[in-house]
């Protein structure tokens, strides 16, 4: 392949973030905006995961029989992965709150247009 996996995933993450920001700014439908925001979060998570990836490495689980030095040199870096777990949960809960507010607003205004509900 021309570019390696890590770089390609970083680019994918960047593309997801850009798509998300575009959707959150320019799409008028509130649900679409929320989907866009979810994509921004996903892109950031993928970015973090790609940071911890090690080309040609192994999963960071220490099995009996492995040499300690060999494991230290080949395992992926687990710190970003632990962070992503937290971040996924935060993203999902934020999205749930937003969808709840959207449902209340729909009852009030009868529309999902941001320009109508969240206008001046």
């Amino acid at each position: 392949m021309i570019i390696d996996t890590q770089l390609a995933s970083l680019f994918t993450a960047g593309a997801l973030i850009v798509i998300g920001i575009f959707a959150a700014v320019f799409l008028d439908n509130l649900i679409k905006k929320v989907i866009g925001l979810a994509f921004i979060g996903d892109g950031t998570n993928l970015f973090l995961i790609a940071m911890g990836y090690k080309p040609g490495g192994i999963v960071y689980i220490y099995l009996p029989g492995m040499a300690r030095d060999w494991f230290a040199q080949n395992a992926a870096y687990p710190l970003p992965f632990a962070m992503v777990l937290t971040s996924i949960v935060i993203g999902a809960s934020t999205m749930a709150v937003m969808l709840g507010i959207i449902m209340v607003l729909y009852k009030k205004h009868g529309s999902l247009k941001a320009s109508k509900i969240l206008g001046d």
Binding site: A8, I19, A23, I35, D42, L46, A76, M103, S111
Partner: protein
């Protein structure tokens, strides 16, 4: 090789989800990048994150959005 295909699916799937006029379809299509991300995490040596992402990204998030759509309006005006 398969990871490159997954990346392409993620980008295309997210664009496709945002292009739907039917919001219920958009909600279901959100699951595609979510699930492909889970597979990609597996390839990027993070199996525990992949498990969480598989549940949250391909099940919980689309269901939340679908519920919200069901309670509001299905077609974008």
């Amino acid at each position: 090789m398969i990871e490159y295909i997954l990346m392409i699916i993620i980008v295309l799937g997210s664009i496709l989800a945002l292009m739907q006029r039917d919001l219920l379809k958009a909600a279901i299509l959100t699951g595609i990048p979510g699930a492909s991300l889970a597979f990609l995490y597996q390839y990027l040596l993070a199996p525990d994150v992949a498990l969480t992402q598989a549940i949250v990204g391909s099940a919980i998030v689309p269901v939340f959005i679908a519920l919200a759509v069901y309670k509001t309006r299905r077609v974008e005006d």
